[in-house]
């Protein structure tokens, strides 16, 4: 009964996660306690069902795609490390991180990685291209039964036309970046984690 989250997480693990994700010590312990409360199977990993049990996520039109982002290699369990790696995409970019040493590697919460997260929501078959069909499927998830096939098709066509520069009738990641270059991705894909 007294065994609480923070005591089960080893110091070394916290240090490693800290380095990898940039979360602070107290953020990690608090997210770990959230992780364990979501973990109904109490086996140290989360399944898709564990995520679906969050009502607010279950009613999110893109809920299934977001959950999927936690299972990159189509496994069916995610451990705390993987959980944190995905959440790290949504850390705001801090001032001291912007002009960091470029050789240190790209942090998980960089603009490019945030965009890649969004790109993968659309890229259902993970072939690094958003085809018309994939875009249609994701659009259908977002609008439900409220818009006709015809109209949705024309929306998809127009969206691809606008983004597609090499004429392959699909959107590559580079084209995706280009079309969203004016959007404030840094802010819109960030969550204000408290210290």
């Amino acid at each position: 009964m007294g065994s609480r989250a923070s005591t089960l997480l080893r110091e070394e693990e916290i240090e490693e996660i800290k380095k990898e994700t940039g979360f602070s010590h107290s953020q990690i312990t608090r997210l770990y306690s959230r992780f364990t409360s979501l973990d109904k199977g109490e086996n140290g990993t989360l399944s898709r069902e564990d995520f679906q049990r969050i009502p607010e996520l279950a009613i999110n039109p893109l809920g299934d795609r977001i959950i999927n982002a936690f299972f990159p290699e189509s496994e069916d369990q995610v451990n705390f490390r993987g959980f944190m790696r995905t959440l790290a995409h949504f850390r705001p970019i801090e001032d001291n991180e912007k002009n960091k040493n470029p050789t240190a590697g790209e942090p998980l919460n960089s603009r490019t990685n945030k965009l890649l997260f969004a790109f993968r929501l659309y890229d259902l078959d993970r072939d690094d291209k958003i085809s018309r069909d994939e875009l249609l499927q994701v659009l259908r998830m977002m609008v439900g039964v409220n818009i006709s096939d015809e109209q949705l098709g024309s929306i998809a066509d127009r969206t691809i036309q606008e983004a597609d520069t090499n004429g392959d009738n699909s959107i590559s990641f580079n084209e995706f970046i280009k079309v969203l270059e004016k959007v404030d991705v840094e802010q819109k894909m960030s969550i204000r984690f408290l210290h």
């Binding site: 609480r4 959230r34 009502p55 009613i59 039109p61 977001i66 079309v179 004016k182 819109k188």
Partner: protein, 446 residues
């Protein structure tokens, strides 16, 4: 050896005399000797001192979180319209064929991730997190070594709680419950008369007072002039089965519920003999029509006690009020809202029924410091013209949430066990669709 047994018997007798003299008799007649007040005052001082010590230790080490809040994130509560509007600002609205940009998914993504980190619903079904440690190990902050003196106090606390308070409280609870069964059964033998209902009320309230002392409950009732009157319905927010003991300390209610087995069943059967409680068989509960009719009959009889209903239908951790089921608001009659707020510093009153059984929950309660509860009686409310049961239920809920300082949530407490209905998702999709194609009406015509 003989002497030892004589001594033990003597000690036991003194123990029982003390219980009867200091607790039972005051409980019977509803006055207080001031012992529990003194205990509470000492407790407050001790916990204040412990909090101070812990804070001091924390500032010295500077490793622990600044404990102003327990939140993980600061959520953004912008509406879909506003958020999507900002996302689309960078790009002109196309003249024909629906407004969609690839960045629209940012809105849903952020909302989704936020709900994974922190959500409104599932957190209401686990124990409330405390800002500071209250010297009980079962809170969010596990035992921490801070100083020798604090550890000694902690040890003393364990001794007092487990070796003095717990046996005392268990004895009291047993006496209270036996008394309830015997008393109500005896009263039940009397013919129906005013004396019977008066006696029945007296027995009930007395037993609840004994039980409340068995939990060291310190209850403060506010605005007693609004107390539920006969022939009405009292609705309250629900944290644990103890709610009933707390409310009944100040007056009797007719209870509505399912027939239980075991110990609860014995108590229920005894109680119904002296006082018209409304118990349903499990199969009857499903028949909403029958339930409503029986309750209507009860309410229309102005001599019967007010009905006590917890319209949330499940225990919430006392930080919020969840959706009120509309059933209780369809009966008609006067609604007397009651807001209850427990003080989590002295013990966590929330019953996490998926984790603890009833008995283990009661034992946890009896080994806590105390149960401190505030009860507010709100002015009676009536259904207004043109208002349906759902709207009325929401209005009552808001009033309770506002008075108790609880968060007013739309979500159904039934989500503790059931999955969310698909219609909520469809509603979100509809809202988004209307942003894509403009008006709802144009969605089909195009």
């Amino acid at each position: 050896m003989e002497e030892f047994w004589a001594g033990a018997l003597w000690a036991l007798r003194i123990w029982l005399y003390l219980i009867v003299g200091l607790i039972m008799i005051p409980a019977m007649f509803g006055f207080s000797l001031g012992i529990s007040e003194t205990y509470m005052r000492v407790l407050m001082k001790t916990l204040e001192w412990a909090t101070l010590k812990i804070q001091k230790a924390n500032t010295e080490e500077k490793t622990l979180k600044p404990s102003a809040s327990n939140g993980v994130i600061q959520r953004e509560y912008g509406s879909m319209e506003k958020e999507l509007g900002e996302l689309r600002r960078s790009r002109p609205k196309p003249p024909v064929g629906g407004d969609f940009t690839l960045s629209d998914c940012f809105y849903f993504t952020r909302k989704g991730i936020e709900s994974i980190v922190e959500d409104e619903v599932t957190q209401r079904f686990t124990s409330e997190e405390l800002v500071s440690w209250n010297l009980l190990t079962r809170t969010n902050n596990d035992f921490q070594y801070i100083s020798l003196r604090l550890t000694l106090v902690y040890g003393l606390g364990i001794f007092v709680r487990y070796c003095i308070l717990a046996p005392l409280r268990i004895t009291l609870a047993c006496i209270g419950l036996t008394w309830l069964v015997i008393g109500t059964s005896a009263v039940g033998l009397l013919p129906n008369s005013r004396v019977k209902s008066w006696l029945s009320e007296w027995v009930h309230v007395m037993c609840y007072r004994i039980c409340a002392r068995g939990l060291s409950a310190a209850i403060r009732y506010h605005n007693r002039e609004n107390k539920p009157k006969k022939g009405g319905i009292c609705v309250a927010n629900h944290t644990s089965p103890i709610d009933i003991v707390i409310l009944c300390n100040d007056g009797c209610y007719a209870m509505v519920g399912q027939v239980h087995g075991g110990l609860m069943g014995v108590v229920q059967r005894a109680m119904v003999r002296s006082c018209p409680h409304v118990w349903f068989e499990r199969s009857e509960m499903k028949d909403r029509h029958l339930v409503t009719n029986r309750l209507k009959d009860h309410v229309s009889d102005k001599t019967k006690l007010p009905i006590l209903i917890f319209p949330e239908g499940t225990c919430i951790n006392n930080t919020s009020v969840m959706m009120f089921k509309k059933g209780s608001f369809e009966i008609g009659g006067t609604i007397y809202p009651v807001a209850m707020k427990y003080d989590p510093k002295f013990g966590d009153a929330f019953w996490n029924s998926s984790k603890h059984s009833m008995v283990s929950y009661l034992l946890r309660m009896m080994t806590s410091w105390a149960i401190v509860c505030n009860v507010w009686y709100l002015p009676a409310m009536h259904q207004q013209e043109g208002e349906d049961a759902v709207q009325f239920a929401n209005r009552v809920k808001s009033a309770i949430a506002h008075q108790g300082g609880l968060v007013d949530l739309q979500w159904d407490g039934g989500l503790k066990r059931a999955k969310v209905k698909n219609t909520f998702k469809e509603w979100e999709q509809k809202k988004y669709s209307s942003m894509v194609v403009g008006d709802d009406s144009s969605s089909n015509s195009d």
